[in-house]
């Protein structure tokens, strides 16, 4: 099957499902009160656009996720590198990191809101707490899994420390980090939305939560549809970036991580 065929089939499936949904509502097979309907969602979407709600709240959510993601990325890469390169630090702190990774960190979100308030900062911290570990472990693993022969060969030839860092350590580590990029961007969005559910005054999560407390299924669904579209676009972009940085690999190697 060609990729063109596949695309056509996929889109047909989506259109089919939406049509079934719409008609089931129209003929009363399912309750519009709980399930809304594609046309209602579309109209609500238009309404939000006209009221300028979408841009306002989306930019809040995306900047929370963005700032948290970048901070988590920098922190994860730096500490991942530091831990991997210093056996001493590694030996002392590794068990703590492992335990922290094993904890369901999302359960700490209410505590983080308590500490950092209802605003922007608390969401950023929640995002960091998720993204950091994904990046940290991938960076660490990328560093540790470097084939020792490469280092030996470079040393024999007379490579300087800088050259070894630049041509071996850095690319090895970065390729692992990038392999985990899509996972961690997904985490960043989830974390931001979750933070907004718990307590906020702006953001897509706030919109959804608000609609939910007004028993407005259409509002909730519009928010979800919006998120789906945003995440799909991000995913396509990230796939491009990822394949650029990992084109030499034959297999996918990203470390599994959980929320």
């Amino acid at each position: 099957m060609t990729s063109w065929h596949l695309q056509v089939l996929r889109w047909s499936l989506i259109i089919l499902l939406i049509t079934i949904w719409e008609f089931s509502i129209k003929y009363g097979a399912i309750d519009v009160y709980y399930f809304s309907s594609p046309s209602l969602i579309f109209r609500n979407f238009q309404f939000w656009l006209e009221e300028d709600l979408i841009f306002k709240h989306l930019s809040v959510t995306l900047s929370e996720a963005g700032v948290g993601f970048i901070s988590g990325l920098i922190l994860g890469i730096t500490l991942g590198f530091l831990f991997a390169a210093n056996p001493r630090i590694d030996a002392i702190l590794q068990p703590f990191i492992t335990i922290m990774n094993a904890m369901p960190r999302i359960a700490f979100a209410p505590l983080i809101i308590l500490w950092f308030g209802f605003g922007f900062l608390s969401k950023v911290v929640i995002v960091i707490s998720l993204v950091f570990f994904v990046v940290f472990f991938n960076t660490y693993r990328g560093f540790k899994e470097i084939n020792p022969i490469l280092l030996k060969n470079a040393a024999v030839l007379g490579a300087t420390r800088y050259q070894i860092l630049r041509h071996i350590y850095l690319p090895a580590t970065v390729s692992w980090t990038f392999a985990s990029l899509r996972v961690s961007v997904g985490f960043a969005i989830i974390a931001a939305i979750l933070g907004e559910y718990i307590g906020s005054s702006a953001g897509i999560g706030f919109l959804i939560n608000n609609a939910q407390s007004n028993f407005d299924a259409t509002g909730v669904m519009t928010g979800l549809a919006l998120l789906t579209i945003v995440v799909a676009i991000l995913d396509v972009l990230l796939k491009r970036i990822e394949s650029h940085f990992t084109k030499w690999q034959v297999v996918d190697q990203s470390e599994e991580s959980k929320i």
């Binding site: 030996k152 024999v156 030839l157």
Partner: protein, 257 residues
């Protein structure tokens, strides 16, 4: 006789594993002259790679010495002096065939402006024209070995250590690349140590052949190679001296003490 290049005296090495000592090299003494092509034959696990590792400065002797009489510094492991074709895969997976050769030039601090020309030249010399942009994962095992060989040779090492470099090649490619190595070696005046399991290859390429015993490796015998230079590798199989030598070494290798 040419000038002396390398002097190994009473080299001993053991590994320790869980408190037990595993002797690997047992009182090895060996001299090499500049530009010599030495082949080392020995059973698997006897310590050949260990010896090369030590010569490359990546492991140390328990006692004994390695020196380079003609060099002002005791240690040859200054810049641009040793290159190794490792027994294991040693290409950098995120660099292309071209990038790997270029990296060996970068590592030996060869100036930027010559790198491209030299890398391309060596890639072509090992028969990989058109594969510049291929990553190791996209090359066959034999092609990867050839890239590794090109990367090592491109640095013009004084000492080239090769650990089973042609094992993965078919008879024809092997002959082509052996011819290439001999041709290049004649031009470069590099001193070469070749570790191999292949008796015919050892005889076809080398000036002298060292046979090692089972672990711990002692030198069992050293044979001068009587075949004249320059050699025509294509014609060797019709040569009676070649066959006699193969037979003698074969017996010696397979004979247990």
């Amino acid at each position: 006789m040419a000038e002396q290049f390398l002097k190994i005296r009473n080299a001993n090495k053991s590994f320790t594993k869980e408190g037990n000592s595993l002797p690997v090299l047992n009182d090895i003494s060996l001299d090499m002259y500049t530009g010599e092509f030495l082949a080392i034959l020995g059973p698997s696990g006897c310590g050949k790679s260990t010896l090369l590792n030590i010569l490359a400065g990546q492991n140390s002797l328990d006692d004994g010495s390695i020196s380079y009489p003609d060099k002002p510094t005791k240690n040859l492991n200054d810049r641009n002096r040793i290159a190794v074709v490792w027994q294991e895969e040693s290409l950098i997976p995120w660099k292309t065939a071209y990038g790997n050769i270029e990296f060996s030039l970068i590592a030996t601090q060869i100036p930027d402006k010559c790198r491209e020309e030299v890398s391309i030249k060596w890639l072509h010399a090992v028969g990989l024209k058109g594969f510049e942009d291929y990553y190791p994962s996209q090359l066959s095992q034999g092609m990867r070995k050839r890239v590794a060989l090109a990367a090592a040779l491109s640095t013009h090492p004084h000492l080239l250590l090769m650990d089973e470099p042609f094992g993965a090649l078919d008879v024809y490619s092997k002959l082509q690349i052996e011819k290439e190595v001999v041709r290049l070696w004649e031009q470069l005046d590099t001193t070469i140590i070749l570790v191999t399991h292949d008796v015919q290859e050892a005889i076809a390429l080398s000036d002298r052949i060292v046979i090692l015993t089972q672990r711990p490796a002692k030198i069992k015998s050293i044979r001068e190679n009587p075949l004249p230079r320059p050699r025509n590798l294509d014609a060797l199989y019709g040569n009676i001296d070649f066959h006699n030598l193969v037979r003698e070494l074969w017996v010696e290798l397979t004979q247990q003490d």
